[in-house]
């Protein structure tokens, strides 16, 4: 049983570390702030949650796990707010995104394609 928990815990930790690493690589490779914010999103969602889950499995049912869950909830609420503030500040600062804005006709077409 402890072996199974250990294996699950290490799988979470390694997967989380890989997400953090690929997010870091993406932040270097992507062309502009807006695209890089997506790579940062990989770090503060997948990477962070998986590492917290792995640590919670190591801690078992204890006060430490409660604190880890609360850290996860804190990230769940604050990280999108921070990312949104960042890209909004970039827009307000006049940094032009390296991409096109889709028109209403294109978005309507895409919505139709996506609908089942």
């Amino acid at each position: 049983m402890t072996l199974a928990v250990d294996i699950a815990s290490w799988l979470c930790l390694v997967a989380g570390a890989l997400f953090c690493l690929s997010g870091g690589i993406g932040m270097i490779r992507f062309p502009d702030v807006y695209a890089r914010s997506h790579a940062a999103g990989v770090i503060d969602t997948g990477g962070a949650y998986l590492i917290l889950a792995g640590l919670a499995l190591q801690a078992g049912f204890s006060l430490v796990t409660v604190k880890l869950v609360l850290i996860g909830l804190l990230l769940f609420f604050t990280s999108p707010t921070a990312t949104h503030a960042l890209v909004k500040a970039a827009l307000a600062g006049g940094l032009e995104p390296l991409c096109r804005e889709l028109g209403a006709d294109e978005t309507a077409e895409m919505a139709d394609e996506a609908a089942p």
Binding site: Y49, H84, A104
Partner: protein, 165 residues
């Protein structure tokens, strides 16, 4: 009554965080929670609209669904970060937000940002401007599944605009 609830929630949080149960230390906790509730009341911090949103029974179910979406798009974006042949095709678009309350639109905008591959740039009352890493991600948002799920959590429309982004 709500202040009592706030006090109890704060004190439970304090007990969980401290892990110390000596009378002196717990006394400090009692005093600091009382001071916090007093300040919250004076500054009118107690946001009932947001509070009522977070006791909705369907919200945890939505969070579970959202976690699944986050994991899925994490895999996709992580692949595009590292694989040499992977391409990105960013675009900006406006997505409709059909929620009635400010808290609902804020939840939608935050969910879009939490999902890697899409970030909300600006929000209005019933529209969100989104930057997407791929056309595929844009299509997922425009399909309106996430929008509809948040509307269902929000429930039938009520008057008044509680909270706000």
């Amino acid at each position: 009554m709500r202040l009592v609830g706030l006090y109890l929630a704060l004190f439970a949080f304090w007990l969980l965080m401290s892990g110390h149960y000596e009378p002196l230390i717990v006394g400090f906790g009692v005093a600091s929670c009382a001071a916090t509730v007093y300040i919250a009341r004076r500054k009118d911090f107690v946001d009932y609209a947001t509070l009522s949103w977070y006791v909705k029974p369907t919200l945890p179910l939505y969070w579970l669904w959202l976690l699944g979406q986050i994991l899925k798009s994490n895999l996709d974006v992580a692949k595009r970060c590292v694989l040499p042949g992977a391409r990105i095709d960013p675009c900006i678009f406006r997505a409709p937000a059909n929620q009635d309350t400010g808290v609902g639109v804020a939840t939608y905008a935050n969910s879009i940002t939490l999902t890697p591959g899409t970030v909300s740039l600006q929000t209005w009352d019933h529209e969100i401007r989104v930057h997407a890493l791929t056309r595929h991600g844009a299509r997922d948002i425009l399909g309106g599944e996430m929008d509809g799920r948040i509307c269902r959590v929000e429930g039938p429309s009520k008057t008044g605009n509680g909270g706000g982004p």
